[in-house]
Amino acid sequence: MLSLQSLSMRYGNGQDAVQAVGDVTLDVREGEFLTIVGPSGCGKSTVLQMIAGLMQGTSGQVTMRGRPVQAPPEGLVYLFQQYSRSLFPWMNVRDNVMFGMGGQPGVDRRQAMQSCEEYLTLVGLEGMGDRFPWQLSGGMQQRVAIARALAASPQVLLLDEPFSAVDALTRAVLHDLVLDVWQKRGLTVVLVTHDVDEAVYLSDRIALLGPRPSRVAHVYDNPLPRPRDPVATRACPEFSRLRGELLAHLLGRQP
C-alpha cells in the first residue's frame, strides 16, 4: 500500500542544516494498523508529513499503491500534532468537522450535518457543534481534530500523537473508536505516538525509530489477537512482554 524507500530529510542548508531523518525504509500493508514510536525529535512527524505528501524528502521516495507521492494523495488524511493550531478559529466545531467533507461533491448539506453530529458523538462532543474551538479545552480541541479527520472518510489515516491531550477514560474510548472505524472501513492507519501502552494496544506492527538522524531500529510484530478489549487484551502476558520490550528499547536498556 505505502512504501518508504530510503527516505531522508535534511532541514535548512549550510551550517544550520539538520539531518532530521536519516534513512527510513518501511512498508505499510494495505489495511494494517502500523505504529511508529521513537524518541522526541527523532523525525516521526517529518516522516508522517512526507508520507502525507506535505513535504518532499531530500532523497528517497514514498509510493502509495506503486505511485510516487508528490502531493497529498486522494483518500489520505493527515492529523496534525499541533491540533490546536490546525483548527480554524472562525468556524464553529460543526463547520470545522464538515470542512473535511466539503471537498466531496454530491454530499448534501443536511446529510453532512447529520453525519457530522454522529462523529461528534463518537468523540464525546455531542451538542458542542455550535461552540468555537477557543471555547473548548485542550483535549476537546484534539477530539474535534480527530472527528474532522474521520469525517473526511479516508482510506489511509495518518495520526500524529492524536491522544496526547486527553485523559485516560476518553483515551480508552477513543482507542476503541479508532479501532472500530479502522475495522469497519478497512482503513490503513499509521499512528505516531510516544505512549508504548497505546502502541501495543492498537497496532498490528510497531516500527521503532532510533534517535536523529533516524532509521528504523526494529519492527515488532504484534501477536495480540483481535478484537482487542481494554481489559482483556492488557491482561495478556504477550501485552506486558511486548510493552516491556519496547520500553526497554526506548529507555535504552537491554530487556
Binding site: Q49, A52, G53, L54, A71, P72, E74, L76, V77, Y78, F80, Q82, R85, S86, F88, P89, W90, M91, F99, G100, G102, G103, F132, W134, Q135, A152
Partner: protein, 260 residues
Amino acid sequence: MKALAMWRSTAWTGWALVVGLCVLWQLSVVQGWVQSENWPALSAVLAKIWEGFVSGEWLSVFGPSIVRMLSGYALGCALGVMLGMLVANSRWAKRLLGTSIALLRPLPVPAIIPPLILLLGVDDALKITVIAFGVFFPVFMSAYAGVLAVDPVHKQVLRTFRIPGWIALFKVKLPTALPYIFSGMRISLSLALVLTVIAEMTAGNDGVGYYIVSMQYAMRAADMYAAVILLSLLGYVLNRLFVVLESRWLRWSRQLEERK
C-alpha cells in the same frame, strides 16, 4: 449592552478633550491671540452650522458628496479585495499585475486627472474613478498581506484535505485576511472622503469640495470651517458604523475581547 456600559464609563474623556480644544479655539479668537480672516471664532462657525441645518443647505451640499463617495468607495474596495486576493493567490496574476500595480501606487491623483479626463469626461464618472483609485491601494495591499498571513498549519490542513482552491479562498484565506482587509478598508474610508473633496475641488458645481473652495474664495471662512467640521463629524459617524459592522463580521475574534 457591553458597548453601552463602556461608553458610559470612559468614552466621555475623548469628548472632553475635543471640547477642551474647542474652548481653546474660541478663546484664541476672542482674546485676540490669533488674528486672521482665515481664523473665525468657533461661535460663528457653530452659528453657521445651525443655520445650514435650519435652511436645509447641508443636505444639498453633502448629499451629492456622500453618494459619490460611497460609489467610489464600494468600487475601490471591491476591486482591491478581489485583485489583492487574486495576486496573492495566483502566481500568474502576481507576475502580470504585480509590477504595474507597484508602479501606479505612488502616482498622485492630480497627475492622473488629465489623461482620465480624456477617457471619462469631468463628471461623476471621473470623480468616482479618482476616489476608487485612491481607495484601491490600501485595500489591495492589506488583502494581499492578509492572504500571506495564513497560518502555515492551516495551509497544510488545506492540502491534506485536498480542498479545492476556491473553497480554500472563501473559507480559510478570506477569514484570515479579513482583519487585514478591514484595517485597509478603515484607512480607505477616510481616504475616500478626502478624495471626494479633492475631486470636487477640481471640477463640478456641487458637493462639499466645491463648497469649501468657493467659501474660501468668497472670503467666508466661517462657512468653510462649518463644512469642514461637518465633514469630520461625517467621517466620525461613518467610521463608527464601520466598526460596528466589523465587529459583527469578526465575531470569532470575540475571544480576544473577552480576554481583556
